[in-house]
Amino acid sequence: MSVTQPQTARTDATAAAKCWNCGAASAGPHFCPSCGKIQPLLAGTDYFAFFGLPQQLTLDSTALENEFHKLSWKLHPDNFVRASEFERNLSLELSAQLNDAYRALSEPIARIEYLLAHLGVRKEGATKQQAPPELLEEVFELNESLDELREARADGGDTALLRERLGEAKSNFQDKLAEVDDELAVASREWDAALAANADPSKQTALLSRMNDVLNRRSYIRNLVASVAKELAEA
């Protein structure tokens, strides 16, 4: 690894619109329309804006991929080996940003997570790990079965029945996961409609917070399924 010294690709909002090379007024996005030189990102450019998209959750994944390839072709450091250090750094930063943005937007769940984090609704790493109330009973039963399985394994007892029961529980939770994904898809469409209709902020906030709750439930169920799968694999 290495340490980089002062980054050049950051500009403040006032200077951002001017091309650093030819001074043309409306430079960008990514390249100056007048001299063709690579440009720093405008302050506040989010992943959606990087692709020239509104903050919508329903995306045409083929169109997004095509745009990703098109921008990769232009922004990649391969094109700037002979350019000035300033331009080389810009290319590095913009390509990294492009790849980060594509990584976040190309998967529907990652896309929602990004939008929520970007709008300050969701703190990264601070997802709630409490069991959702409506699942409490089933989770309780599941944990009991997991304990019994561990015990039976330790004592060398018969685990066939327990494994069967856990397998059922696992497929039950997998069904719930599919339900949650459907819920997210519905909420995503509602968000897009609200955005398009310029709905009032309180409605938008309510939608975002609903999506956040569903995401938390999703991550909880996913962890459950993963831990059951792990125990079953070991048994």
């Binding site: 690894m1 002979r82 390509s95 980060d100």
Partner: protein, 613 residues
Amino acid sequence: MARTVGIDLGTTFSLVAHLDPATGSPKCIPGPYGSTLCPSVVSVDGDGKVIVGEPARQLLLTQPERTIYSVKRLMGRGVDDIQDELRLFPFRIDSGSRNVIRVRLGDKLFTPPEISAFILRELKSWAENHFGEPVERAVVTVPAYFNDAQRQATKDAGRLAGLEVLRLVNEPTAAALAYGLHEQKRGRVAVYDFGGGTFDISILKLISTSEGDIYQVLSTNGDTHLGGDDIDNALLERMRATISELHNVDLSAHPEAAQEVRKRVIAAKHELSAKDSVLLSFKLPGGGVVQQAINRADFEKWIEPIVARTMEPVRHALADAKLAPAEIDEVVLVGGSTRIPLVRRTVGEYFERPPHCELDPDEVVALGAAAQATILEGGVKTMLLLDVTPLSLGIETMGGVVAKIIPRNSTIPASAQELFTTGVENQTAIDVHILQGERELAKDCRSLARFQLKVPPGPAGLARVEVKFLIDANGILQVAARDLKTDAQQVLEVQPSYGLSDDEIERMLEESIEFAEEDFANRQVIEARTEAETILNATEKTLRGSRSSELSPGERRSIDGAVSHLRSAVAGTDYKLMRQCIDELNQATMHLAEILMNSALQTAVQGKRLEDV
């Protein structure tokens, strides 16, 4: 313009390739022994002279304590990492080594990047001899599964060899590129790269766009310590046991004999790719003779566990690419170990299709590197490689848990920002520990570096320092920190966990320049001495001739004086003094030279009329 080449710096062999202008296709450059393969073997003789390649491989048999092979296994690693290798490889590691391994060759110590630099320098000279002009830039390949420290060590080696490394390219990606250019392959491609010391699997998507072809890596996995070497060692272990049992000879007490046996089992391995059975036959120290037949079925039984180890990374790579084996359109084999029929069979059965091996598995990586070098050199861009980082990047958080900030298989360049703050009042520094790997706990991941963020004293949680982590197109991490309160860039002092510091590299570079100066001085002495001897011989011959009588006694004296000055200068090593005395003698013999010239002219024009002259 200086040339840019592609270099495959391999565990067993290294190669250099360039774009052949005659065909427009990449081509490997042969060395002085006619082969394009340069054995990755380095030997240092008693005078400190470095020998690389084929002659060094010969020295492995006679001077094993001065010779090293498979140094790539040591790149970017610490002493604790390589305890397993030390049981199997005759590396003589200096006991003072810690985060950078130092290897003893004869009475000198070298770091792995220095030894790799000798190999790169050799390949550089192959290319320079081929072009008749200097080579200053290169694309160098690395195993896809190399971590940050291993990549950095490879880049350091390039710098020490006097090469600007324009890009590190992952070996399987380079191979895919060579195949793509050659075969016009499209769709989803799996590259199975089983080399001398490393194993990689990469899953790529080849896309045609209106601008050109894009080679997008979807996932990669591997084992940086799994290769043909392991097969050799498995065979060697069996032979050791047999020899100890039947002949009561302990090979570890005979390093020369152990190298001889190693050479024999490698030859047997190669032969078993084509034949059903081979006979090993050689003499032992003490006069015993080994006669041992190996058939292919036994060989396959012995190496099956090693081949099986390659399939675990294959399954992981496919899972990460979210693909089933049957969804792969083409499978490409790379690396010498894929010549083994069992390997081909295993891969073919898993993917349910015969793998491609049309291109020489030894050359294909270097060919791809040359193609990438041409593009970076500023040639016409016809394709683009989008590679990934093989390992997740994380930072240590409370309780030694790793928080992943850039997941594995992210397309590079990739970046992540993290905000750091203070936990207690008047804290003036925040420790940051960067790691690479997939495990949950810091102690199970690979430590990359540690650094401290400086913050002004104040209430807990007030400080705001943003650290930007960026993995560049080489797969090497860069970090930069910025204080959000003051908007000031913070200068970081990073302590790399493994590898050479910038200061150490600077020192090594200076030493190599000193060496170069020494070499330069030696050459100057030799040249001045040769010139001095020529002029001394000529002067003495003339002085013995009849024409010297035309000189005045004063002239004669000054010539004699200059001759004796030059004689004593030649006896020494001061080439500047020699040059001075040569000038003195030239001055003193000016008149003598005129006399000779006139006499030569007279001889030449004798018998000719004036108008003919």
